[in-house]
């Protein structure tokens, strides 16, 4: 059994339009490295300076990884990883 990775609309250009792809690895970092191998270019959209980007949300089995160990969050076969761009903005510059 593989890890299910759900890809948001804006990143499906990297996955040939696929909403769900197979992942592999024992941590979120490893899953993202495998994603990069399969879908070159996607990693840069998720990671910045070795950390998950501030305005990208990553969940493992419905838990935001910010609360479970960030990129070191463990992942196992059968788990679901969801990637969602933050819905955010506003009049201030950030």
């Amino acid at each position: 059994m593989a890890i299910e990775v759900r890809i948001p609309t804006i990143l499906r250009t990297y996955t040939g339009g696929e909403r769900v792809v197979d992942g592999a690895g024992s941590t979120v970092t490893e899953v993202i490295d495998q994603l990069e191998t399969d879908h070159a270019g996607i990693k840069e959209r998720l990671i910045e300076n070795g950390e998950a980007r501030r305005f990208v949300n990553i969940y493992v089995n419905d838990e935001d990884i910010r609360f479970t160990g960030n990129l070191q969050t463990p992942v196992a076969d059968g788990d679901t990883v969801v990637i969602l761009p933050a819905v955010a903005g506003g009049s201030a510059d950030v």
Partner: protein
């Protein structure tokens, strides 16, 4: 062009007025591929700020799961500016993550949160490029089958 029913249009303005001076935010979901905003989902601004908005990450996950289950798209993503015009800021453009959505901005500046007209404008934001589009407010959607209209009211 964004076509939106009056009840939803008015509900978005009411939400923006209610949350003033903080920015209000939300989504109007619609059947996938229909481009028809049908189900208004006001969201909590987790930033609770007059100059920034962000959906709570748990709320965001639930919303997207719900839309997946219902076979819906986020047809409209809206927020308010409370001291500036209803035009996407640099932050809005940088963070826009739904190329298929109509980004609606309303402005409650200059006392509009209490009375008078509220600017209600719509944009496409794709690859950092902003294109304003016409907003057509209709009493109801002509093409909606009768059964669906009943379900919506």
């Amino acid at each position: 062009m964004l076509t939106i029913d009056r009840a939803t249009h008015d509900a978005i303005i009411a939400h923006a007025r209610r949350d003033h001076p903080d920015e209000a935010c939300g989504v109007v979901a619609g059947p996938a591929g229909s481009d028809r905003p049908a189900r208004h989902v006001p969201m909590l601004n987790a930033a609770m700020s007059p100059t920034f908005y962000e959906f709570d990450s748990g709320d965001l996950l639930r919303l997207y799961r719900e839309m997946d289950d219902n076979d819906e798209d986020p047809v409209v993503i809206y927020h308010s500016h409370t001291a500036t015009e209803a035009y996407p800021s640099r932050t809005d453009v940088n963070l826009a993550g739904e190329p298929g959505a109509h980004y609606v901005l309303v402005s409650t500046r200059d006392g509009a949160h209490e009375s008078g007209p509220v600017d209600f404008r719509s944009y496409r934001i794709v690859d950092g490029e902003v294109t304003e589009e016409e907003v057509r407010v209709v009493d109801r959607y002509d093409t909606a089958p009768i059964t669906q209209q009943k379900a919506e009211h």
